[in-house]
Amino acid sequence: MISELFTTTVLIGVLASGIRLATPYLYAAIGETFGQRSGVLNLGVEGQMLLGAFAAFYVTLTTGSLWLGVLAALIVGALMGLAMAFVTVNLHAQQGISGIGFYLFGLGLSDLLFQKMLGTVETVKGFTKIHIPVLSDIPGIGEIFFSQTVLVYLAFALVPVSWFVLNKTTLGLKIRAVGENPDAADSLGVSVARVRYFTVILGGTLSGIAGASLSIALLNVFQQNMTSGLGFIAVALVYFGAWRPWGVMAGALLFSMVNSLQLWIQVLGIPIPSDIAVMMPYVLTILVLVVTVSRVRGPSALTKPFEREA
């Protein structure tokens, strides 16, 4: 029974499924990383994802264009990010609570729009798998890494780009400065408000694309509350990844691979109770966190609204 786990079919299945499952987490968590590195905690990721998912689905369904759908998700996510930025930066609101407020807003509005504009669950022709020539023919590896939809590739391409922006550019320096010591940054002429607006809007945009990756690439369907807690796990992954893009990717992959592993365990009939199997990704993530977290400190100004001292 357990030996059946160690076959190539299972290995390929776990890795390929893990990569697909990780994609929405990756978009959302990378977006949230930017926001949190600049000091803003956004718990409304889930709401942004749901509205982005609906926007992408509806536009693709009515226009037939997938990229217009992605654009719609992008715009909707950016608008939600703009609203969150206004509430946290200009109104100095408590970030955790306003985030939850945006979550509920996104959840409710996406469902309302879905019921009024669509009325029933239906499918759409989403992004198809792109088989990268030559590379996708490699047995095993080809199927896992080089036969996915374009939004999956983009999610993983986002990781080195984000690392580069955060660590090797002036913009990244400003972001990190604003998140660590906004007073010092402000005294040196960095506009804290502008940086935070940028990161939060970027976070919203990426959350919108995360939603689109679900509704027009991975699942090709929209349904009420289809994210089912994904956004909150993405926020947790930022902490898990120590606010670094590569760490966030590692967390997303760990969580998703274990999730697909537990599915295979159930499919192969290995006698582990289903409740335990379902717990595995969460338990493992907590264990890894316990082992690694002691050395990590978050951005010092995280969740603190910035007001210029007179």
């Binding site: 879905f114 499918t123 699942l219 289809m226 999730n259 289903s274």
Partner: protein
């Protein structure tokens, strides 16, 4: 101060815009005129029902089954005699409890808590409103309260029929089941389905996965992909998350059996049949009892015999004649009692 005024103005205008966009009320009136003119004078006051549901009314599964049932009751009784309102998407139990209490205090005749997770809420709220009747499903527990009805679905019966058909149509002898949480009518369906497959051919492999959630559509889709990679050529599942799985099944031309609602519309090429819940019978029984003065204390079940569960076939799927005959015979056998479904 200026910021406060600005913020309040924003909030006010936003809420006014949103409430203008929102429907006037969640009251539903009959979409078509009643089929026949009532031969007796309608009751002076309409019978008012309120429902709280854990997912959307168009989830093609659990909540939709109750919503459709209420619509059918309204069609039969007429919009003047029967009104209902609903709160859907109440997957947070505390919100649902608040909604239940709200409805009860507004004096509805029957308040339905459509979800086994609402049990403790109903148990707590019902004694405070002795003149309101509550109904709770899917379960048999009325908590010995005089104003609580309980209703459940014997979903293992339709599950068994689906299983028999699945075993007949499968060529790879591997069948996958995608369940949500191992509880309630989901577990009954999964167990009944497995029993049906193995009763038809004990050499079949039936793999069951539980995703641990009713709404995790992405995980249900990956579960379907995993089953298919393991060799399944027929799939089934329950709860609103299966729309993800149905999509994956359609991509790989794998057959699908549905439950709770008719899922044909989602994938007309591969859905063979669905066990559809018809709650109208149970609802009508409860309404009659309430109007006669009995507020609760009874439990009901929908099954194949009383027409509460119906196996609806996809007319666009070419089911072989022998398979159809076998399915009909199985349904009849379950109704007669000649077929017994042994659950683990």
């Amino acid at each position: 101060m200026k910021k406060l005024v600005l913020f309040l103005t924003l909030v006010l205008s936003l809420s006014m815009i949103l409430s203008a966009c929102a429907p006037a009320a969640t009251e539903v009136s009959a979409t078509e005129a009643p089929a026949e003119v009532a031969t007796e004078a309608p009751p002076a006051e309409p019978f008012r029902v309120a429902v709280v549901m854990p997912s959307a009314i168009n989830d093609l599964a659990f909540s939709q089954s109750m919503y459709d049932g209420l619509l059918r009751v309204q069609e039969e009784m007429g919009a003047d005699a029967f009104e209902f309102v609903y709160s859907d998407g109440m997957f947070v139990v505390d919100d649902a409890a608040a909604a239940l209490r709200d409805y009860a205090s507004q004096g509805f005749d029957l308040v339905i808590a459509h979800g086994s997770q609402y049990g403790s809420s109903v148990q707590e709220i019902a004694p405070d409103f002795p003149e309101v009747s509550f109904a709770w499903g899917t379960t048999v527990d009325t908590f010995d309260q005089p104003n609580i009805f309980a209703y459940e679905a014997a979903s293992q019966e339709g599950g068994y029929v689906n299983g028999v058909l699945a075993a007949t149509l499968s060529t790879s002898k591997t069948i996958g089941v995608i369940g949500p949480i191992e509880t309630g009518d989901a577990k009954l369906y999964v167990d009944g389905f497995t029993a049906g497959v193995l009763a038809t051919d004990p050499t079949f492999t039936v793999s069951v996965t539980y995703t641990g959630s009713f709404s995790d559509t992405a995980l249900a889709a990956e579960a379907a992909t995993t089953h298919i990679a393991a060799g399944a050529d027929v799939l089934t599942g329950t709860a609103q998350m299966v729309v993800g799985a149905i999509g994956k099944a359609e991509e790989s031309s794998v057959l699908w059996f549905g439950t709770q609602s008719n899922q044909t519309s989602l994938a007309p090429t591969i859905v063979v049949a669905s066990q559809v819940y018809h709650w109208e019978g149970v609802l009508t029984q409860m309404i009659d009892l309430i109007q006669a003065g009995t507020m609760g204390g009874q439990s009901f079940a929908i099954n194949l015999e009383n027409g509460g569960e119906v196996v609806e076939y996809n007319p666009d799927y070419a089911l072989p004649a022998e398979a159809q005959t076998l399915a009909d015979a199985t349904v009849q056998g379950i109704i007669d009692g000649t077929i017994t479904i042994t659950l683990p």
